[in-house]
Symmetry: C2
Subunit: 488 residues, 2 copies
């Protein structure tokens, strides 16, 4: 199996597709750009979703559900928003099919044309703010801290499994506040929640920053982002949190009576992460043998493989180990397949990225020991049976940390300070990664650099130091560096 994966150095894009396919994470469907998320891929997404959901609830948010369809007229209400989202979307125009009276099969019934077309939601600000109008009357109704887990559709021209698909799964938080300050803080808080999730659970280091006006969400006053770096030196926008100002309240006429008895427009944020994170997870850790999943998100953390094959005696040993591991909250499975050989199985479990493999045969049991292999480094160690659960528990922690540190070392060594356009181009071409450079702050310069190099400004880091310098393109004065990169 593993041999069928294209090495990363040969063709990184093909390697990614191979891993997604061979690890049975997802596949393309019969509908252009829409994927089927296979059970193993979905199990990873479920782990992510459940943890994020816990973090949202711990920060005071509740879930709700809003309609899939958005009336066309809603999209027009926020001028920038419509520019960003109306262009490529799925439009429902009819509500019935019929048998063609001329015998050509099933056709759209022309009499079922809708009075107003419905758009399959590309994001739900418009529907939700239209609803909030009835929910918010007074400052006592605020803040409103609501999240929804949903599918959304954006008619993408070029799609790639998990990273960019026509339909994807995501969560979208939509909060309403009485003051600008509170909304700004909410947007920052959720950026921090995303960063914590990415680093602690996905073991994926991220840079927190703000998007430039040109890269903002359509309708936002400020877009905060977490940006990760993939192994090919390209950046991935992994989550965004938007301060929307009063734009949607204005568009949908959402006013509240403030403590001074004055009518005021409501302040808003929205924030989202999607199944794109699964793509980021794959590209951050996986290798030429297949998927690597951090223990905290692995649907199965440990697999036990008897050598050369299962037997009743081996089964008893495995049962004992499984009980000890499960008592510590570790998920484990026992390979009971009689047909395939150990070497095949080892390759298969490496492909699926199971963090720890325990193997044993008759000789191991005589010596009261087990062979423990870790997926991240592929090291094998002989471990006494007694105390195996404690050993594995520590090892899972160690793997989680190692994956993060490894990714962080790579990321940190791929942030390069450049001070001229020549250096910029050379580093971009030869090394990739983030380029930390001075920029004059104009969209014009940003777009020129993009046109010249295809690199975009990924973010203005939250922790950027103030430093006098000159724009690499125009030589105009600048007070801080921003991060450029090629991006997914």
């Amino acid at each position: 199996m593993a041999k069928e994966i294209t090495p990363r150095t040969d063709d990184y894009s093909q390697w990614y597709i191979d891993v997604v396919k061979k690890a049975q994470l997802a596949e393309n469907s019969a509908v252009r750009g829409c994927m089927v998320i296979k059970p193993y891929g979905f199990a990873i997404w479920e782990k992510m979703r459940d943890q994020l959901d816990r973090m949202f609830k711990e920060t005071g948010h509740v879930n709700a559900y809003f309609p899939l369809f958005i009336p066309k007229s809603f999209l027009s209400k926020e001028a920038e928003h419509v520019e960003g989202f109306a262009k490529e979307c799925a439009v429902v125009t009819h509500h019935r099919l019929m048998n063609d009276p001329e015998g050509s099969g099933l056709i759209v019934d022309p009499t079922s044309k809708l009075e107003e077309e419905l758009i399959v939601r590309p994001t739900s600000e418009t529907m939700i703010w239209n609803t909030y109008r009835d929910w918010i009357k007074s400052y006592r109704d605020l803040p409103l801290l609501i999240n929804q887990w949903a599918n959304v559709v954006r008619w993408e021209m070029r799609t790639r499994l998990f990273l960019r698909t026509t339909e994807f799964l995501w969560q979208e938080g939509h909060t309403a506040h009485a003051t600008r300050q509170e909304a700004v803080e909410e947007a920052l808080k959720m950026q921090a929640v995303y960063a914590q999730f990415a680093e602690e659970y996905m073991a994926m280091p991220v840079i927190q920053g703000a998007k430039t006006p040109n890269e903002r969400f359509a309708g936002a006053e400020d877009t905060l982002t977490i940006e990760a770096l993939m192994q090919d030196g390209k950046a991935l926008q992994a989550g965004t949190s938007h301060f929307l100002g009063q734009n949607f309240a204005r568009a949908f006429d959402v006013m509240f009576l403030n403590e001074d008895n004055q009518q005021e427009l409501v302040w808003a944020t929205s924030w989202g992460v999607s199944t794109r994170l699964v793509g980021g997870l794959i590209m951050t850790h996986s290798d030429d043998e297949g998927l690597v999943v951090p223990p905290k998100l692995a649907p199965t953390q440990v697999v036990i493989v008897p050598i050369p094959k299962p037997s009743p005696e081996f089964g008893e040993v495995a049962e004992k180990i499984m009980r000890a591991l499960r008592d510590k909250g570790i998920s484990v499975m026992y390979d009971q397949d009689m047909k395939n050989r150990p070497g095949f199985k080892f390759a298969e479990y490496e492909m699926r990225g199971i963090p720890v493999r325990i193997a044993f045969g008759a000789r191991d049991l005589e010596n009261n020991q087990l062979e423990v292999a870790r997926r991240d480094t592929k090291e094998k160690t002989a471990v006494p049976i007694d105390g195996i659960a404690g050993y594995v528990e520590n090892l899972l922690d160690e793997i989680q940390k190692n994956l993060f540190n490894r990714a962080k070392d790579y990321r940190d060594s791929h942030i390069t300070r450049v001070d001229t356009m020549d250096d910029f181009k050379q580093v971009l071409k030869e090394k990739g990664g983030f380029l930390s450079a001075h920029w004059d702050g104009t969209t014009e310069t940003e777009l020129k650099i993009k046109e010249m190099t295809k690199a975009t400004i990924r973010c203005i880091p939250n922790d950027a130091e103030q430093e006098d310098g000159v724009c690499i393109l125009t030589g105009k004065p600048s007070t801080q560096r921003v991060l450029f990169a090629m991006a997914y």
Copy 2:
């Protein structure tokens, strides 16, 4: 607040709408027939979903995700299926909007017409069996036991919050098997899982049975159902499990190599429950004071209300109680509102159906006791502070049981054996509920009775006794009674 609920005896339909609205469960959206599920309603659905998901996983199923859109041509492949679902569905015909060059605003871009229309899934058999064709090659690939949690759309003409909406949330299980026997057993197993969930968690007694051919799912060889009885004497189909035979395998050419090395068509089941269950929950237990939620599905099981209002001292007592309850896994909240009076709060929490209310004032604390009120019977008891957690734990169990028994008594007393059409009509009119009657087994008779009375055959109970009799309409011989009812 409670006064605004229409009593059940005055107008049951309006009572239902009032409860849904006043308990803040859901509301109609700007899109015809689509609802907004509000945070409290969604929290109840989440509890249901999480428990069902555990039960599906315990019975060996895994989750996956299939596309929202189904190519029009897929629907035509299974002849009965298309009759059942193509009629009223949301049809996506274009993928872009544009600004009208003549200035009338946002219009559908005529150049973005899709080559083949896409249907927003009304159910996913067609998409999933088209996918299974590539997943199933040999008996070793079987069984395939997959579930998906998703939104679906059926263009309903008359909608009612939770009970029948254009878009709804559900789960749909789709399993593939090597033998007829195994698929039949799977369909029965999932019917039993649904019944267990309905009775143990929703405290809603159900009758397990089979649908008549006329009431079967479009494309099924057999449809199993769980049928509940609402307080107005109308039945609610709460979940269905279908034995699909080889119909979808045939339509999508899904063959497998059996153990004898022969190509054979795959056997199938599908099964689903939806947000309709929330409607069933409401109508089974709630009363003229508002919602009643069984403890096992209550987002908040206990509320603590200080009398007359919060104080630092009361806060300390509440903290202690909350810790003790949470240690037992009981969810609890403390009402810290300073403005509203206790009576208002009591009515509010009754409206929301919180199973247990604990109230206390200074005098109660002097006496080392608390006032505990249960939502189901509205009884109040003085309970010593020491041991309150154990008391509440038992009380929650007691409430759960009482709700089930109460609903079961009602249901059992509303199954009436009738042997003539006159009795049938009279009981249907005066008492409602299930009518247990002999039927000659023909669709013709079934439809005639429906035309005459609006009652339908809800099911042929799994445990129906063999009994010789004659059809109430035609006088033809019959060997068992079936259950008729008016239904949602």
